[in-house]
């Protein structure tokens, strides 16, 4: 456990010190999104990497969080700090209720059902024009603020988002090392064996599904207040797939892997400016080659690759 804590402290220092190097400019803005996407990827990884349950509808939970926060603050003038937990509560309840029937399904069926759920949510965003503004979106969402400190620029937002981001990372690292984390992995390996060992697999799966949705909703609220504008296009099926790609590229069942995946996929479009139309192919290619050649993701695949290269070099030296 101490090792985990040291790892986390190292990570936290790295994150908190990053603005000293990259301060100002457009990169800060991108790093804010790395923070939001890290929260989302870590949340999905809890479900997919630890419990072994796929979801292709997480963009929907992200979206509900964003829209609820946005509507409550922009349209009804609520305090943002009040709207955020309420949105999380609503999303958590929704995920808990739908979790019971949906998590009875396995594998491909679960993937299709969560995908369907995500698309239904997306359609609702588009069609409830009175509430959400429909396809043209909802604007005028206020920034978060504490007293007179208003989080209205990238620098302030970076620290705001990453405070939440680091909290989520710490929470998930802790959870993974706890009894619950071990139970989740047991369910992943064999649900029957886990049940024999006294794990209530059904309830546990629903709980982790709801927890994962709550974190996604939180990320959604933060997204809404940072962007001050939300539109359905950000919460469609493509974004669910992007989240899945982040988790798979980083490595299933690795919290820091999810950060790596999120960082890579958020920075990638920036590196590929000018070649924007190619990004869809690059996502597809990355996802496919990761599953085929590096099923453990970057966190496990890269060290193995280094070892193999080193060994080959050694072999060449000897010959």
């Amino acid at each position: 456990m101490r090792r985990e804590l040291l790892k986390f402290l190292f990570f936290a220092v790295l994150i908190l010190a990053a603005p000293l190097v990259f301060s100002g400019g457009y990169l800060m803005n991108v790093l804010v999104f790395v923070g939001i996407n890290t929260m989302l990827a870590v949340a999905l990884n809890l479900l997919l990497g630890y419990a072994g349950q796929i979801s292709l509808g997480h963009a929907g939970f992200f979206g509900i969080g964003a829209y609820l926060s946005g509507i409550l603050t922009a349209t009804y003038g609520w305090n943002a700090w009040l709207a955020m937990p309420l949105a999380a509560l609503v999303v958590g309840t929704l995920a808990g209720l739908i979790g019971f029937p949906i998590l009875k399904l396995k594998g491909h069926y679960l993937a299709m059902a969560t995908l369907g759920l995500g698309i239904i949510i997306y359609i609702v965003f588009n069609e409830t024009v009175d509430l959400t503004g429909g396809p043209s979106g909802l604007s005028g969402i206020p920034n978060l603020s504490i007293g007179s400190l208003v989080f209205d620029n990238d620098f302030k937002n970076y620290y705001l988002i990453w405070t939440f981001g680091l909290a989520v990372v710490l929470f998930c690292v802790n959870l993974a090392g706890s009894r619950v984390g071990r139970a989740l992995r047991a369910v992943n390996d064999s649900e029957v064996a886990a049940r024999v060992m006294g794990v209530n697999a059904r309830i546990l799966k629903v709980q982790v599904f709801a927890l994962s949705a709550v974190i996604s909703s939180l990320a959604g609220s933060l997204y809404a207040h940072t962007m001050t504008f939300v539109s359905p296009a950000s919460f469609g099926f493509n974004f669910s797939v992007e989240l899945l790609t982040m988790v798979v590229i980083g490595g299933l069942g690795s919290v820091y892997g999810s950060f790596l995946g999120a960082a890579l996929l958020t920075l990638l479009p920036e590196l590929l400016r000018g070649a924007q139309d190619y990004d869809i192919i690059i996502y597809g290619g990355l996802l496919m080659s990761m599953v085929m050649f590096m099923p453990g993701g970057l966190v496990r695949g890269l060290p193995e690759l280094f070892r193999r290269v080193a060994r080959r070099r050694e072999g060449a030296g000897n010959a």
């Binding site: 072994g52 993937a111 369907g116 698309i119 359609i123 899945l244 996502y283 597809g284 496919m288």
Partner: protein, 313 residues
Amino acid sequence: MKGNSLPMKGREFLRKKRTPMQLEQILQYSFSGLSTGAIYALIGIGFSIIFNATGIINFAQGEFVMLGGMLTLFFLELLQLPLWAAVPCAVAVSALAGILFERLAIRPLRQPTPINLVIITIAGSILIRGLAMLLWGKDTHAIPPFSGDEPISIAGATILPQHIWILAITVLIIAVNKFFFYHTISGKAMRACSYNRRAASLVGIDVRRMVLLSFIISSVLGSLAGIIVAPLTMTAYDVGIMLGLKGFCAAIIGGMSSGMATVVGGLILGVLESLGAGLISSGYKDAIAFIILLLILFIRPQGLFGKAESERV
């Protein structure tokens, strides 16, 4: 027979209730629903064939539908082929894409767990969609109808010749499909695989060849569906997602059968969707399919017509 009795009843109904608009509309929606339903059925059968042979839900199924439409357009416009030549060319290229997909993505997979298979087929679908976008751009295109667009009036509802083409071709494909699975050696071998892969390989069936064959057949079915629907709904590089998902919905209603149950599932879905769009709200049209999908998965995962099966561990 049904087609003959319906209009008669319709006319009587009209006289009594004096709501001609309403009834004509319902007929109209049902007709167009049946033809989209036929498309869903074809795509759904493609899903089922692969699922029965391999246990894989091919998330890239919809992309073959897109390939059918886009390739036909490509052969028609850029190579200036006539329609009768463009269609087989498009189907052949789609089948080739199906073969490549199975060989390059599915077969080399080292850990074919359900999650990895879901991810790899999603990745494949993104890749195919991306390549199509690069090759043909993001524009929406129309394919000319097979035989003009002079509407035909039936009992107050008008249908297009293309609707008849769709229904006729679908019936033909289903008949060929039935013949293949019940009266040819390869078809019977594939059915054997779907009952029990190990037992099939023990009696000398090359299971891997059957897997490849299932991908070929379902990419052919998918591309044909894409070709016959393109004159009605237009085609673009991204039409595959929705069509694929609705085809899957049809297959789920039919309990993943590669026969009549999925056809009926597709038709039910098409008609419900069309009626819902017309009578309730067109914005929620796509949601109808997914609500049905979720309800069926929650309540009757064995399909609308299947018998309940005890859970095997």
